[in-house]
């Protein structure tokens, strides 16, 4: 599904990613762990098409297409989703209005009929339950005045509605209490399927206890220095990054 080859990328003069190789197959869950500043979020951003980072070498192939020339919206319509580490507030734009537009943009791309208001509302209400939010939530403006937990739930709600093929979760578990983490993990588990792949970027193995990864990669100074199974996360928890 996703093949990253020898990817190098810079922000300004600074090289952030220094030759990344990654192969994510359908249905797989990959965890990427690493210290602050190791390049985890930059990797998430270049996959989704944020233009702040410049690719200087290598390629990102998604379903046999080179993503390099694709806009963020083209990538999204093809099934790539990013759960943001710091979701931005957009005052005045309520979630219902925004998500209906987004869901219908995707349906148009897939050649499906747009959802009418009633069907859309029925669907979103089902998904709201999965992330433990009530229906008043979707009348609020995107992330405007949201608590940390609400922001992350909102990201997972969007994931559930947009049904991506590849979901990248950038520190979705950071700053959450145990209950919120449970809810988020439940949302992710619900979304798991043999066709849907996940890249979970995290500092802690806690989320990985709920959502078991097939592979764990350790990112250090822009390179993947170690890859292994779920046991790698456990070793990291016990020994810290110094061990790497």
């Amino acid at each position: 599904m996703l093949k990253i080859k020898e990817l190098k990328c810079s922000i300004g003069d600074k090289e952030i990613l220094r030759g990344i190789n990654l192969d994510v197959k359908p249905g797989e869950v990959h965890a990427i762990m690493g210290r602050n500043g190791s390049g985890k979020s930059t990797l998430a951003n270049v996959i989704t098409g944020k233009e702040t980072a410049q690719i200087t070498n290598g390629s990102i192939i998604y379903n046999n297409e080179d993503l390099n020339e694709k806009t963020p919206e083209e990538r999204s319509l093809r099934g790539i989703f990013l759960s943001f580490q710091y979701p931005v507030a957009i005052p005045g734009v309520n979630i219902t209005y925004f998500l209906k537009e987004a869901v219908n943009a995707k349906r148009r791309y897939l050649g499906k009929d747009e959802l009418d208001a009633a069907t859309f509302l029925r669907q979103i209400k089902e998904k709201l339950k999965l992330v433990d939010l009530d229906s008043s939530f979707i009348k609020r403006a995107i992330n405007d005045g949201f608590s940390g937990g609400e922001k992350k739930r909102n990201e997972i709600l969007q994931l559930l509605m947009l049904e991506p093929n590849l979901a990248i979760l950038d520190e979705t578990d950071s700053g959450l209490d145990i209950d919120a983490l449970n809810t988020i993990a439940h949302g992710i588990t619900t979304a798991k399927s043999p066709e849907r792949s996940f890249i979970i970027i995290t500092h802690y193995p806690r989320l990985l206890n709920y959502v078991k990864p097939d592979k764990v990669h350790i990112l250090l100074k822009g390179r993947i220095v170690k890859s292994g199974g779920p046991e790698l996360a456990q070793i990291l928890e016990e020994k810290g990054y110094g061990w790497v």
């Binding site: 989704t48 098409g49 944020k50 806009t71 963020p72 919206e73 990538r75 999204s76 319509l77 989703f81 990013l82 943001f84 979701p87 931005v88 507030a89 957009i90 005052p91 005045g92 734009v93 209005y97 925004f98 998500l99 537009e101 987004a102 943009a105 995707k106 791309y109 403006a141 995107i142 969007q158 947009l162």
Partner: protein, 418 residues
């Protein structure tokens, strides 16, 4: 600025057969004062950012009997559900097309003037107040008697139309007696090729009265809109104002709000959607005279192309106006490199136990927000429009009447497509 052209029109005005001669002394007095001080130039502190050469370069004539509407006047494009409308066409009152709801009294300005035994204070702050007094053509008064809660909103629909350069000077009094409630809409429309409207609106809010005032400026791009609003508020009265400005070429709205009665509140809001070379100048004075009053101002402008805007607001807390609560907020979105906004919120505080705050922010669209929406599959244009729409909606949603809100939402939607 030369006023010789206005002199010719003024002579026509006072010699006109159907105008009321009893107000001529008032007119003459005002016109003499106007000749004395002249029209503002950009050297005047309050007019620094507004160039009035538009007014100088055009010869406007007073509206005449020939400027009446066609036999069938189509007002369907301006339809808003469940409201009563008073129609004024090029300064001519269309009585047969107008209606007011029960509980609202509509009389002519002259009648009102007589009723008050000529004791009306005009509060002439600018040369345009004087111009209105000198040239007032259509004048009317809306009276709401004590304890009357009027459910149906009242709208004055000002239509400006035609090929020639006309000047109208409407004057409206809104006299809200004690414990009354009304939603009042002034709606400015029409396709005039060239038009100058200089309106004066006097709102008097009796104790415990509530007024929702909505001003929709959506007339042609050949129109110069000058609005002079004077609001006097009694004890515990509540005045809310919302200006939705999308039309006109050059616009200036002067709002003078006097919080005279203890516990009175005013909430002033404005949303300007500007394109091409349009210019809108909002000039606000809120005067906290009595104690325990609250004032809030939220003004937003969205500027495209080479448009420009001004937010010049001064809130004054007088000595003795203790426990005043005053807020000013001005937020602007520049959608073009050539658009300009001048924002100048000021507080003048002469009392010690008060709560005052002001904020002003002018910026471009948030790149992070655009990326967020694009990452959800929306194309770049739709993403930008969604953010702009949200910016407007945040304020627009303060309008309580659903039909009016729907109408303005549609206007906003069409503007976004421009």
């Amino acid at each position: 600025m030369s006023l010789s052209h206005f002199q010719t029109e003024f002579d026509k005005m006072i010699n006109r057969e159907y105008s009321s001669p009893e107000v001529n002394p008032l007119r003459k007095d005002a016109f003499l004062k106007l000749l004395d001080i002249g029209f503002p130039t950009q050297k005047w502190e309050d007019w620094r950012f507004t160039n009035l050469s538009y007014l100088k370069n055009k010869s406007f004539r007073i509206s005449d009997s020939q400027d009446v509407p066609p036999s069938v006047l189509d007002v369907s494009p301006y339809e808003i559900d469940d409201i009563d409308t008073i129609i004024i066409y090029n300064g001519h009152y269309q009585e047969n097309l107008s209606s007011v709801p029960e509980g609202v009294q509509l009389i002519s300005g002259i009648e009102y003037f007589e009723k008050q035994n000529g004791k009306i204070e005009f509060k002439e702050h600018t040369p345009f107040d004087l111009l209105n007094t000198a040239f007032m053509d259509i004048s009317m008064c809306i009276i709401v008697e004590p304890n009357m809660i009027v459910e149906t909103p009242v709208r004055i629909l000002f239509i400006s139309d035609g090929e020639s350069s006309i000047m109208v000077n409407p004057r409206v009094y809104l006299d809200m007696k004690e414990s009354t409630k009304l939603t009042f809409i002034e709606h400015h429309v029409g396709d005039a090729f060239s038009f100058f409207q200089n309106e004066s609106i006097f709102l008097s809010l009796g104790p415990n009265s509530i007024v929702d005032h909505i001003r929709i400026q959506s007339n042609s791009s050949g129109t110069f809109n000058m609005a002079n609003l004077q609001v006097n508020q009694g004890t515990d009265s509540h005045y809310s104002f919302f200006q939705f400005a999308v039309g006109g070429q050059l616009g200036r709205t002067n709002i003078h709000c006097e919080l005279e009665g203890k516990g009175s509140e005013c909430d002033l809001n404005g949303l300007a959607l500007l394109t091409s070379a349009k210019h809108l100048d909002d000039n606000i004075r809120v005067n906290h005279i009595a104690p325990n009053c609250r004032s809030n101002q939220s003004f937003k402008s969205i500027l495209k192309d080479e448009s420009s805007g001004v937010f010049n607001s001064r809130t004054i807390v007088q000595e003795g106006a203790q426990k005043s609560d005053a807020k000013q907020s001005n937020k602007n979105l520049l959608l073009s490199k050539k658009a300009v906004m001048n924002s100048n919120p000021q507080l003048e505080i002469n009392s010690d136990d008060v709560k005052c705050a002001h904020a002003s922010a002018t910026g471009e669209l948030d790149e992070k927000a655009i990326f967020y929406l694009r990452s959800r599959g929306l194309d770049i244009e739709s993403s930008k429009k969604m953010i702009v729409r949200g910016f407007a909606l945040e304020l627009l949603e303060k309008i309580k009447d659903k039909n009016i809100l729907d109408y303005l939402m549609n206007s906003l939607q069409s503007w976004l497509k421009l």
